[in-house]
């Protein structure tokens, strides 16, 4: 098993931490993982992205050019990464902020209205874990038991009081993700 994922959006959307939760979940299930962020100009306001690789074997290159899954959270990232999804791969996007929907017909496309839904629930900060829940519904690369462990591990202790809300958001994300084609 080897899953190469890119998560891309604006800085502040929780892109890097979503990747960290996923990567830590993989660690908890004893997989090999790498987490490679974009850093620098992007993180100083603008787009941010992270490549996470989860594998049951030693990971050679942490840098990828094509992805099994792309989680896209803004239009710039859609323009940049839509073409980098492997044929037969998965593209997940939040409709909020996407003006031009993806046009590929050789990949599976899903939408998740996490921005709207998390705001409606008054829990805008749970946006990223909601999307993570949607992703794990489509690609259960890590078992939920380990995801919950990874979530705890990747959060600082002062944030542990939010664990139940994050867990609820993960479960909710799994329910609201929709297949486009």
């Amino acid at each position: 098993m080897k899953e190469t994922i890119i998560i891309a959006g604006f800085g502040g959307q929780g892109v890097l931490s979503m990747g960290k939760i996923l990567a830590y979940s993989g660690v908890m299930q004893d997989f090999e993982v790498t987490w490679m962020p974009s850093y620098g100009p992007e993180m100083r306001g603008g787009t941010a992205n992270v490549t996470v690789i989860i594998s049951d074997k030693r990971i050679s290159s942490p840098i990828a050019d094509s992805y099994d899954t792309a989680i896209i959270l803004n239009q710039q990232s859609m323009d940049k990464f839509q073409s980098k999804v492997k044929p037969g791969g998965v593209l997940i996007y939040d409709t909020n902020g996407i003006t031009t929907p993806p046009t590929r017909t050789d990949i599976e496309i899903y939408t998740i209205d996490a921005a709207t839904e998390s705001a409606r629930m008054g829990q805008a900060k749970m946006f990223n874990t909601m999307i993570l829940g949607g992703y794990l519904k489509i690609k259960p690369v890590v078992e939920m038991e380990y995801v919950m462990q990874g979530l705890k591990k990747s959060l600082p202790e002062r944030a542990w009081k939010f664990l139940p809300q994050n867990e609820a958001a993960i479960n909710h994300g799994a329910q609201i993700i929709k297949k486009v084609r």
């Binding site: 960290k20 660690v27 993982v33 987490w35 490679m36 850093y39 100009p41 050679s60």
Partner: protein
Amino acid sequence: MAEKEVRLMKGNEVIAHAAVHCGCDGYFGYPITPQSEVMETLMELKPWETTGMVVLQAESEVSSINMVYGGAATGKKVMTSSSSPGVSLMSEGLSYLAAGQLPCLVVNCQRGGPGLGTIQPSQGDYFQACKGGGHGDYHLIVLAPASVQEMYDFVGLGFDLAFKYRTPAMLLADGAIGQMMEKVVFSEQKPRRTDEQVVEECGSWASCGKGKRKHKNVATSLFLQPDELEALNQKLQATYREIEAHEVRYEEYMCDDADYILVAFGSSARISLAAVDMAREQGIKLGLLRPITLYPFPYAPLKAMAERGVKGFISVELNAGQMVEDVRLAVEGKAPVKHFGAMGGMIFNPESVLEALKSNLIK
């Protein structure tokens, strides 16, 4: 501390943890992307409250390296970290440290150059690290980590080698290895040496108190008498020959039956590893030699490969072709040696490495 706990951390973060765990006495640094997490993590860890390790943000890289000189002169285990432009500022100090025969650890988390360049990863400082940087006839022991675990492990190893040979050691990483997160397992906390232990270990040379000794130990790099400087240089060169004889480290991957060999270190070795797997799937017998020590460089195994009939070598580097010169020296013209790389903080993918092999060597 749970010894075998597997953690997920950035390369830069584990440098800080490793420094504390190996009993480092002092860190002196100045922030620069992409290595700022080293000092940030140390400030979070507050080792001055636990092991007593000093962590100090200096006013510049020039100050950092000279604080390292001062600490090292007393036999303490001291280090600094920076990225390419900052290491250029430290080059004078490194030459002084080498001349003073002072052990220390310097981490260079390389970014694109020359000049201020970019903050993206690069391996453009190979020449600077391995061929001098500062003035005069000296070498640093240069270790090239290719994973987050090696970032952790090589801090302790770097200190051990630096003290064994009384020479500065450098950990030559890059922005990619520094910024990425991978699994890491920590070693046990080693206590910092007591003052008595420092005197016992380093009392023959360090300025750690005269005690009952008749003479003063003085750390200096100034020898105005030519014969004295000649003697120092002879001593340094003898040390370098010892290092070259005993400390060469490298890793081979699929080299035994290989027709072609990639030579790569650090993050480009990780990319090259994937290229080897892809080549093997296509029936191309490709292998990877990854130097772990860049100085001393693994000339002998490369020469042996050329002599057993390897058809060609490609030095894969995030630069315009620096290590390739050492690969050519090793191969001694017995096989073609090419370079493949990218500059300016660009990173190539395994496919393009394989393409370079096909277009350059496989006829």
